[in-house]
């Protein structure tokens, strides 16, 4: 026990004095929270900027624009009526635009009479590959439906009713567990892979092998150290997020328990990767090759539902997915059962990596 404490103290001093260690433990998650918090601070749903060219100018087109504005999905900006719209789109690098045609008002009037010959088309210019295109189309459809109802005086038979599931929750509340997941992974996995490679290259493992410290004690000391600093990191990041943006997610005992479990998992995985790596450069490359895809595919930044099905299947094979889900279960949804199930997966996978790394790693030369 005293050797583990000595190693925690000695290693901790080195780690926290190195600028990289301190940055990735404390500054990195705070930076992410501040940046993403600022970007998504307005509300849960973001408005899309929609430039509109009104070639009509009648009260009907003005009324239509009001309906469009009422959808709250778009910010309308006007394009001069005398501009060539395709040139204007190119010159201003627009990905979206709406054109209300000439004689929009008179065609509406005609359509309301007996000579109805189909709807008047408003044209949406846009890049279908952009997510903003879908929002713009939804806004235009909603505005059109509402406009039609108002003019034709038919009564709506179906209308959406909204019941908020998590009142007051923001994007940041869902993002915060992802940031914690990334921080736990980068610190434990990336650090351990590099540390193993550096210790081997600089002869530190041989040096340690000459002392009374045993391999499993060294690994336990790393797990304890990363657990402590990552819990501190979680508390700091949460405090900053709350102070800056007023988050509604909560830190629960289960969330605090997830941190050592994650540290256990990724420290063990880092050491397992470090078994075969000879130099720190390769260590960084391997950790990045495994860590970065995992970061993006495990729902740290985006909900898994947004990804294609095959990637969602792949995500179920990534341990960070369970860590992120567990944290969200307890911090955002208050789903203790779900969080415990995810915690169990993290612990079991961590135990497998721990046993493998303890057995395969050798401090000695063959």
């Amino acid at each position: 026990m005293s050797r583990i404490l000595a190693d925690i103290k000695g290693f901790g001093r080195q780690y926290l004095r190195s600028k990289v260690g301190a940055f990735f433990t404390f500054a990195f998650p705070i930076l992410l929270i501040l940046l993403f918090g600022a970007i998504y601070s307005a509300s849960g749903t973001q408005k899309v900027s929609l430039p509109v060219q009104n070639l009509d100018g009648s009260p009907f087109s003005v009324a239509y624009l009001n309906e469009l504005n009422n959808t709250t999905l778009v910010n309308i900006k006007m394009i001069p009526a005398d501009a060539n719209i395709t040139n204007y789109i190119n010159d201003n690098s627009l990905s979206l635009a709406l054109q209300i045609p000439v004689n929009f008002g008179s065609k509406i009037v005609d359509g309301l009479g007996p000579n109805y010959s189909g709807p008047v088309l408003v044209t949406v210019y846009g890049d279908k590959s952009q997510s903003t295109f879908g929002t713009a189309i939804a806004a235009v459809q909603a505005a059109s439906v509402s406009f039609n109802y108002n003019l034709s005086r038919t009564l709506p038979l179906v209308a959406p009713g909204v019941q908020g599931l998590k009142e007051g929750y923001k994007f940041l509340d869902y993002f915060l567990p992802g940031v914690v997941g990334i921080t736990v992974m980068t610190n434990s996995l990336f650090s351990m892979t590099s540390i193993c490679a550096e210790y081997r290259q600089r002869g530190f493992f041989k040096l340690l092998a000459t002392t009374k410290l045993r391999k499993h004690e060294w690994l336990i000391s790393k797990f304890v150290f990363f657990s402590i600093i990552l819990i501190l990191s979680l508390l700091t990041t949460f405090a900053v997020a709350s102070a800056a943006f007023g988050t509604h997610s909560t830190i629960t005992l289960l969330a605090l328990a997830m941190i050592p479990a994650g540290a256990f998992l990724f420290v063990s995985l880092g050491m397992l990767l470090g078994v075969a790596i000879k130099d720190p450069e390769s260590g960084v490359a391997v950790a990045n090759a495994i860590g970065f895809p995992m970061m993006f595919l495990s729902g740290s930044f985006f909900p898994l539902d947004m990804m294609p099905h095959f990637l969602q299947v792949l995500a179920t094979a990534l341990p960070l997915t369970y860590f992120n889900n567990g944290l969200r279960d307890t911090m955002v949804y208050g789903n203790t059962g779900g969080a415990l199930a995810n915690l169990a997966v993290v612990l079991v996978v961590g135990a497998v990596f721990f046993v493998l790394s303890s057995r395969l790693m050798s401090w000695k030369e063959r």
Binding site: A6, G203, R366
Partner: protein
Amino acid sequence: MNGALIDVKNLSKHYPPDVKAVDGISFEIKSGQIFSMLGPNGAGKTTTVEILEGLRNPTSGTATIFGIDVTRDYSEIRDKVGILPQNFEPFDELKPAEAVEYWAGLYDKKMSRKDIERLLEKVNLTGRKSSVSKKLSGGEKRKLGIALSLINEPEVLFLDEPTTGLDPKARRDLWALIQDIRKKGTTVFLTTHYLDEAERLADDVAIMHKGKIIAQDSPEKLIRKHAKLTVIVLVGIGPDGLKEIKRRGIEAITEADGDILVPVNDPSEMRTIFQKLSGIELNVKDMYTRRQTLEDVFLDLVGAKMEEGDLKP
């Protein structure tokens, strides 16, 4: 135990397919000695030391320290052994006192602040105690390494090339430190590729080449056996002068730089040789006597000189 503190018999370490890093070496080290294993890079010195330190397993042979088989029961002697590995570098971000405190903890040893200061004073590092290790000079880093190796007050100290890459002053400082450690009764196993270091420090030298020990004795006996204690050096007499010397029955050889060496087998012969030389008309630019060293022994045994661990023909 047969009186030797370290006893190595027929020790081999082979790597597939056919590398014989250590090839059946045997030697003994008595308590309180400085034993130097001397040889070029790749001779097998570090492999031998690491087997003795419990860091590698031999292919065959035995190695015991205090009668304990190091390949099986190294943990039994861990407390009695101190180690400075080759190319030692301390942990960058720790100050010397913190490094000592850390290392002491890994040996289950509690050291008070005073104990730590005393140890740093022993290796002359008290002046740098507030600098993190990465800011120490090469010599200071090795001194810190020696301080760490002394934490458990070892009876045997392994120093694997402790002065490699250091400037002459740092080397001399470390030599003084090593001699000081020996004076306190510690047995020192020193590997080096510096011939002057082995000659200056060691009671016993084993010259290792291609995995084998090719000679072993005290430096003086090695020099007597494989070289001449003293030579007379004649500068600038050329091939004609050499012929004339040999014609008078005086043994002489030419060095690579053209100087002529006249070996003196016994100090009592010196006068006679000088008398013979004085009778020859030689166009001598300079003449002096030189004591031969392990360098000459190494040249005689290996047929090449050694510079910074590499062999030079």
